[in-house]
Amino acid sequence: MADFDFPGGIHPPQRKTLSNRAPLRQAPLPKRVVLPLTQHLGLPAEPIVVPGQRVRTGEVIARAQGMISANLHASITGTVSAIEEHPVPHPSAALGEVRALCIIIDAEPDDQNDWLLMPPLDWRTSDDETLIDRLRESGIVGLGGAGFPTAVKAQVRQRHVIDTLIVNAAECEPYITADDLTLRSYAADVLEGAQLFARLCGAERVLIGIEDNKPEAIDALSQVLRKPAAADIAVELKIVPTRYPSGGEKQLVQLLTGREVPSGGLPADVGVLCHNPGTLLAALRAVRDGEPQIYRIVTLTGEALANPGNVEARIGTSIHELLAFSELQPEHLSRLVMGGPMMGLTLGSGALPLIKTSNCLIAATAEELPPAPPEQPCIRCGACEIACPASLLPQQLYWFAKGREHDKAELFNLFDCIECGACAYVCPSHIPLVQYYRASKSEIRAREQEAHKAEHARHRFEFRQARIAREEAEKLAKREARMKRTPAPPTPSTSSDTTTAQPETASTSADHAAQLRKLKIAQAAAKAAVKKAEKNLARISEARQSDKTELEDMETQLATARENLRATEARLTMLQAKNQEQDQETNPS
């Protein structure tokens, strides 16, 4: 049992038996796959194939771009027929079909099992570098839902000290049984994958968090755990009571270790790394068998399917085909959900591809997931507060979101909301609370971007002003110097400067001393500003989430400060030269 607890949570009907009775099956090989270039967090992958090119199963067809990105591989053998925009599953699809660039491959009619594998590695004898390279090459992303590139996560040691690796097998959302079936079918491989990651991140222990509603998976795991290898890192099976959202990353960290991920931070900040069993399995296969990520286990469920269950399907397979394989009864289908009923997203049609992060497809009937009843006024009953696993005040956030008081919503920690939906689930007034929070969050983000833009423009403007001022000061200084070098007879037409300088020279030298002092102070201030800007820049570029625009801003600010310093120095030298001149002039006389 778990040693710690998290607040709130709900117990929605589990509905897992719909799909966890049938054994894991192989979905038929698709005739055509549609592979979006963005199936992960970060920049889209860059295609390296052209239409008409023949590709083999497992061949890289698009390369990762930048630091956070993932490779994409051909999931069937065939010919690239097109690289074009195609509808993809996306959270904002409710506002209209979302299209993204995809590589489309048509299968060869005869031989479909022509694989291009990487050479197998023994992870126990390979060094970290090789393993991380392999993970990067294999295009593996977190299969739990976020799709964060696994190779990036594997380098966590560069910045954090990790003591605990958590295998997140809680699978707390109703309906989904993909992790359950993964563990039942490949418990040993998942555990070996966990060992591999524990070594990569330097963890001293592995904790497997699993809800008590998966007895068969627990059995399979304990059987493997009974005969541990000598060199292995200690693994502990932590069976937690079934309660949504115990599988939320932050909640599971709290449940198993008692630690809280700091607001805006990562589990790595408290020495924990979380991985989904499917990711561990994929990683092990990539290393041990040289298989890139071209298929995944997905739950096909819902009452509109006559034959629900879990299948191993190629990435890019049309969802329609998968549902047909599970004998979809289209006349009963009212809602198609990708993911779970609590946090999943609805799909407008089945003509979308299966992507790396799709863990479940629910083909629900109208009785099963009925449309939401009309929204009624909030009576502040507090049911949402009791359900909230993040200890927020959902009803207050709702009022602020509805009244567009975004600053107050932020003060009430809106951005700590994990959008688990527990509040909306229990709301007796049927208020779509999460929808309000999402709207509020996106408005705040848009406003911040706007403010950032204005700030950026201001910095650019200031830099320009500083540069002009500096150039003028330098020009003036040069002219003065030139005039000094060529002591031309003072004719009235030479320069207005000299004429205006006449009364100045006549005036007391105390004036000059004051001016000099002023300029010296300005010089010191400008020097300090340069130092400060340099420090800021260093700090920002060291920070983990260094924002590109922020970096640029800092660079501009530093340049501005330098311009100011140069301008002041130019004025100072000019004045000093003038003073000397005057001294020479006045002394002989």
């Binding site: 709900i10 929605p12 699809a93 409710a94 709290q254 700091p262 607001s263 805006g264 289209p330 289908l333 009212s334 809602r335 198609l336 993911g339 009923p341 609590m342 946090m343 997203l345 609805t346 407008g348 049609s349 089945g350 003509a351 629900a364 997931l369 449309p371 939401a372 009309p374 009624q376 006024p377 909030c378 009576i379 502040r380 009953c381 507090g382 049911a383 507060e385 009791i386 696993p389 993040a390 200890s391 927020l392 005040l393 207050q396 600053d407 003060l411 009430f412 920690n413 700590d416 939906g421 909306a424 689930y425 229990v426 709301c427 007796p428 007034s429 049927h430 999460v434 929808q435 999402r438």
Partner: protein
């Protein structure tokens, strides 16, 4: 194939505001039954008329505000306000008294603020407080516990007479409430002497205590069904109990016993049915504790030093004022934060940014 697009979550628990309110109504039944049993048919007339007026007035205002009737009326909240005001009124209340009270409750306190969920003050208590200030004679004339079928019991026709204002209650029918009688015992009279004189009609104390226990039973149902949380009732009754004990311990000859304060008035009813009105109460769990304790303290202060013998309505309304303040200062500690937020910070908008 085009399917429904919705925002997650796609499933929800089978609860509704209407059923929450229906449970509250159901939980008032033991208390109402007890009141009728001891104080006669007048109570029933009050409750029915007030509840009917609640729905009628709500419908009228919704019509005037051009809002849909069906959904709002089905939330049963006007019915609850009506029932709660109805049980608070004296059994001889004439119809116009109830009408004035319900207009204050539904029209002024609730709908003028924007309807359900928007009212800062408890509607039933606004109605009650207005009546108590405006019509002190009618509002303080409580009935003697003659029961429904006792020798001196007045029948349904008598009750109807009082209700329609064509008959005045006779002295034999009326009686003070225990709190009222005790408050006006006089400074020179000791508590023991006071009780020895048998100051109330026979069975009055018993009637009030039994009714309080009936409200407690209803409250237990609400707690059991998780319609309300324990925070407000516990802290309210706890505060009353602590203060009453302290007072009694300091001077038993001039203060009621703690039990007298708990069961002699509307403390239990207020704790479970009035103070727990979610709309006008504090929202966080910690805030609810402060809110309930504040009401309990105010009840005891007004009972002791105020002009009114019982003080649930005023105490609740006063604490309603404090709710936004309490809410800002009792935020829970959010996951991943070292400490909870306190108060509200107003972000300074820097207009002079360009000038510098």
């Amino acid at each position: 194939m085009s399917l429904m697009h919705t925002s997650s979550p796609h499933t929800r628990a089978a609860t509704s505001t209407g059923s929450v309110m229906a449970w509250v109504l159901l939980a008032t039944l033991p208390g109402i039954a007890s009141l009728i049993w001891f104080f006669g048919w007048g109570v029933l007339l009050n409750v029915l008329f007030a509840a009917g007026l609640g729905v009628g007035l709500e419908a009228l205002i919704l019509r005037l505000r051009a809002r849909p009737l069906g959904v709002t009326l089905r939330d049963n909240s006007a019915l609850v306000s009506g029932v709660l005001l109805g049980v608070s009124l004296p059994p001889f209340a004439p119809w116009w008294l109830i009408l004035v009270g319900m207009i204050a409750a539904i029209v002024v306190a609730k709908q003028l603020f924007g309807g359900l969920g928007q009212n800062p003050f408890n509607p039933a208590m606004v109605g009650y407080a207005l009546l108590l200030i405006s019509f002190p004679v009618e509002m303080t004339q409580w009935a003697a516990p003659h029961g429904l079928f006792g020798a001196n019991a007045f029948g349904l026709s008598d009750a109807l007479g009082h209700f329609l204002g064509i008959a005045e209650p006779t002295d034999a029918m009326t009686g003070a409430t225990p709190l009222d009688a005790f408050k006006h015992k006089g400074a020179t009279v000791l508590a023991s002497e006071f009780w020895a004189t048998d100051p109330l009609p026979t069975g009055t104390l018993n009637a009030w205590q039994t009714t309080a226990l009936a409200w407690l039973a209803g409250g237990a149902l609400l707690l059991f069904k998780r319609i309300i949380s324990w925070h407000i009732p516990l802290s309210l009754l706890g505060a009353v109990l602590v203060l009453a004990t302290l007072m009694y311990a300091s001077d038993p000859s001039h203060h009621g016993t703690p039990l007298f304060h708990l069961l002699g008035g509307a403390a239990i009813f207020g704790a479970f049915f009035i103070a727990t009105d979610p709309v006008s109460a504090a929202t966080s769990r910690k805030g609810k504790l402060y809110y309930g304790a504040g009401i309990g303290i105010l009840i005891m202060l007004i009972r002791q030093w105020g002009a009114y013998p019982d003080a649930v309505a005023f105490a609740v309304l006063l604490m309603n004022f404090a709710v936004p303040f309490i809410d800002y200062y009792t935020q829970p500690r959010t996951y991943g934060h070292a400490r909870p937020n306190r108060g509200i910070k107003v972000l300074q908008i820097d207009d002079d940014e360009d000038a510098t």
